[in-house]
């Protein structure tokens, strides 16, 4: 039984490492910002879950296992919040999702995002474009 758990832990750890590499390659190779965000999600869910689960199998029901579960819970909460803030900030800044009809995106956008939207053909993929005075956002000086 102990050997079985050890083997399972080994499999989980190596699978987590492989998923981390897959996520990293996705972050490096995908075109456009939002598809890269989609790739980085793999690191926060699969890689973290598999590696922390593999470590948890090594210690059994102890305080360390509780801490590992706490790490996974905190990662789940914080990475989703960070991804939400990142996507909102990028949309407000005019970074446009790729491979979609811009009219559909404009119709679906909520009022939370006020930045001016540009068609993808107007700039290179994922280029850095500060707002050029057309922003409706106001800031207290």
């Amino acid at each position: 039984m102990s050997q079985f758990l050890d083997g399972l832990s080994w499999v989980l750890l190596v699978a987590g490492g492989l998923f981390a590499i897959v996520a990293a390659v996705g972050v490096l190779r995908f075109p456009g910002f939002f598809s890269r965000m989609h790739a980085s999600t793999l690191m926060d869910t699969m890689a973290a879950g598999l590696v922390l689960g593999g470590l948890g199998l090594q210690v059994g029901f102890t305080v360390v296992a509780f801490k590992l579960a706490l790490v996974f819970f905190l990662l789940s909460v914080t990475t989703t919040s960070a991804a939400h803030a990142l996507a909102k900030s990028a949309l407000a800044d005019g970074v446009f999702p790729h491979m979609v009809d811009p009219e559909i995106v404009k119709a679906g956008l909520s009022e939370a995002v006020h930045g001016p939207l540009r068609h993808p053909s107007e700039h290179h993929q994922g280029d850095y474009h500060p707002t050029d005075g057309k922003s409706k956002r106001e800031v207290a000086s």
Partner: protein
């Protein structure tokens, strides 16, 4: 076993760092650093187990929280910077 997982995570961190260096937009960099932070949390846990010191999980916990805070702080910084630049451009347009 732990060394294998640590090595794979190290490779993943290196690849993520390339994206952080390449950009091209500031959001790509923030995204890459965020992913790098998650990989670092896992790395700290694995290295702690490899060293027979599972207490390092506490440090991983703190690192996860600091990573989240720094991401949000960097995002606020970028947003405020852009909003101020947009406001200045609007004021310059109003003058002319």
């Amino acid at each position: 076993m732990y060394a294998t997982a640590a090595l794979l995570l190290l490779v993943a961190m290196a690849i993520t760092l390339i994206r952080a260096l390449k950009g091209p937009s500031v959001f790509d960099r923030i995204l890459a650093v965020n992913t790098f932070g998650t990989a670092t949390v896992l790395m700290i846990s694995v290295v702690g187990f490899m060293d027979h010191r599972p207490d390092l999980v506490d440090i991983a916990l703190i690192y996860a929280l600091i990573s989240f805070t720094s991401t949000i702080a960097a995002l606020r910084f970028v947003e405020i910077d852009h909003a101020r630049r947009a406001q200045e451009a609007a004021e310059a347009q109003g003058d002319s």
